[in-house]
């Protein structure tokens, strides 16, 4: 847990985005977990521009979560470079925020929806400071956007899966990051929440922020994303859905044989 240099919990690292810089730039990144010899990630190169909305797809174990952890600064960068709005990853905690997979959170802990959303403001507060008027306004607004104001005082353990996901997204909105990472946000989430999530992501991107969404559910991509990154230890495809989700790529990543005629599968061309 402590293999990452921890720094600047609080205000002192609020670097403004550098002009003309990419929202996210990953160069030649590779990563191997300690105790294993097989790299999880190899030669990752990608660039996301401000205002872009990108899907990160790939089978389980493709390294999607690891890549997100690296971007967020939760794992040490072993090889290559990652920069966020022109700043080295890990140099600034304010620019990037993540909606984690639900399993990493202790939902039984007695906290209210409002308290969880307020946690999104902590990065701006740091030690010894309590949320002020500005923070409370940001929290109220985030809850309103995610339509959870009416359950603000409920305990998070009593909520449905979809509501819990809204709370996490509201927390990320309160964080007010410029690069948002969503790790498998669609698992166990109802359709209404999915729609609200995509609508919110759309809105956030129009404000010039960037969003990277990981998923192993290929079905939703055609509707909501114009750009897809296909990851299987390395980037095997980057571009519009039709060019990336070729039967060959899917067969390669998901490990089944490519059969002639699969290119006519209707959901791929929808």
């Amino acid at each position: 847990m402590l293999n990452v240099p921890l720094l600047c919990y609080g205000k002192n690292c609020d670097h403004p985005p550098k002009a003309e810089s990419a929202a996210l730039e990953v160069k030649d990144v590779g990563f191997t977990y300690g105790g294993t010899s097989e790299p999880v990630l190899q030669d990752i190169n990608l660039r996301i521009n401000p205002g872009e909305k990108v899907a990160l797809v790939g089978p389980n174990g493709a390294g999607k979560s690891t890549l997100m952890k690296l971007i967020l600064g939760l794992e040490k960068i072993q090889k290559g470079q990652i920069s966020i709005y022109g700043h080295h990853a890990n140099a600034c905690r304010h620019r990037v925020a993540m909606v984690p997979q639900k399993s990493t959170v202790d939902w039984s802990f007695p906290v209210s929806v409002r308290q969880v959303v307020t946690m999104g403001r902590y990065v701006h507060l740091g030690w010894f400071r309590n949320p002020g008027k500005k923070d409370r306004e940001a929290v109220d607004q985030a809850m309103e956007t995610m339509e959870i104001s009416h359950i603000a005082d409920k305990q998070v353990g009593e909520l449905s899966g979809g509501q819990q996901q809204r709370v996490m997204l509201a927390r990320t909105l309160a964080h007010n990051a410029d690069l948002m990472l969503l790790d498998e946000p669609l698992n166990h989430v109802d359709i209404a929440t999915q729609e609200l999530m995509f609508h919110t992501i759309e809105k956030v991107c129009r404000m010039g922020k960037s969003v990277l969404v990981s998923t192993h559910d290929l079905g939703i991509l055609t509707v909501h994303f114009s750009r897809v990154l296909f990851l299987d230890k390395t980037i095997i495809g980057d571009g519009p859905v039709k060019d990336v989700l070729t039967p060959q790529n899917i067969a390669r990543a998901y490990g089944f044989e490519f059969h002639k005629g699969m290119e006519h599968e209707s959901w791929l061309n929808g």
């Binding site: 990452v4 202790d106 902590y122």
Partner: protein, 274 residues
């Protein structure tokens, strides 16, 4: 009735003991919510046992008991942390090893010192034997613990709920964890005087367990825990004074009675609502 209540209050030893007990109860009550909801009951118990050698060595060397206990508690926390960071063990394994070893060392040392009777109040608490110096030390530790929990409340909250988010904003859950353990250890030390090494756990766990049956808000859990702890101390005091009952056991039984009442109430409420 009024006289029944005020009679013991005219004795200084009783007042000192009651003051110490109430301070300890307040500190335990405030910590209790986090101990229960962070799943730290086992480590609380382990720390309480691990301070035994510190107390005995302090007595052998003629240093104040609480100082020896505090040193032993902090060494145990660091030892558990070192073993756990080795990644070869899960934390409860490290706790088990340290806890059993330290307690055994304490028992052995007590045996060498040879005055087991004198030391039985360490094991079971002796609330009416609090000296002025004890009281000052207990007050300092109790106020410090409460102050620090309030000061770092939001950090405790975020590291308990979502470690990943804490790490992502540059806050080390591990640092908060060990900081909190040191608070638990210090509270354990001052609590041994009132309920003894063996039963400290009841003051650290039962109040919040009871409160959690009645409410799901952390603030209310903490307030209620503190209330239960305070009432149990007062009850323990008077029974100890009037019936010459062991104070530690009485305190724990009062807490347990609260728990059973709350449990029955929540069950009944569930049945009638559905």
């Amino acid at each position: 009735m009024a006289q029944w209540i005020t009679e013991p209050l005219q004795y200084v030893f009783f007042l000192k003991g009651l003051g110490a007990g109430l301070l300890v109860a307040a500190a335990c009550g405030v910590l209790s919510g986090f101990i229960v909801w962070r799943g730290m009951a086992f480590i609380g118990d382990a720390l309480a046992h691990a301070i035994l050698p510190g107390i005995v060595i302090a007595l052998m060397l003629g240093i104040h008991m609480l100082i020896g206990a505090l040193a032993a508690a902090i060494i145990s926390v660091l030892a558990i942390g070192t073993l756990t960071s080795h990644r070869r063990f899960k934390e409860d394994t490290s706790i088990g090893v340290i806890f059993a070893g330290a307690f055994a060392l304490g028992i052995l040392l007590m045996n060498r010192v040879g005055t087991f009777q004198d030391l039985s109040h360490i094991l079971f608490g002796n609330i009416l034997g609090v000296s002025s110096f004890d009281l000052i030390l207990i007050a300092i530790v109790a106020f410090l613990v409460i102050f620090l929990v309030l000061l770092f409340f939001k950090e405790l909250l975020v590291t308990s709920f979502d470690r990943t988010h804490a790490l992502a904003i540059g806050l080390s859950p591990l640092a908060i964890h060990y900081g909190f353990l040191i608070l638990v250890a210090s509270t354990t030390v001052i609590a041994t005087q009132t309920v003894g090494v063996v039963m400290v756990l009841a003051l650290l766990v039962t109040p919040a367990a009871t409160a959690s049956l009645l409410t799901k808000e952390l603030w209310k859990i903490i307030m209620l825990s503190t209330f239960f702890a305070l009432v149990s101390i007062i009850a323990g005091f008077y029974t100890s004074y009037y019936f010459d009952a062991p104070s530690g056991a009485t305190i724990v039984l009062v807490l347990t009675a609260f728990f059973l009442a709350a449990f029955t109430y929540s069950k009944a409420k569930l049945r009638f609502n559905v």
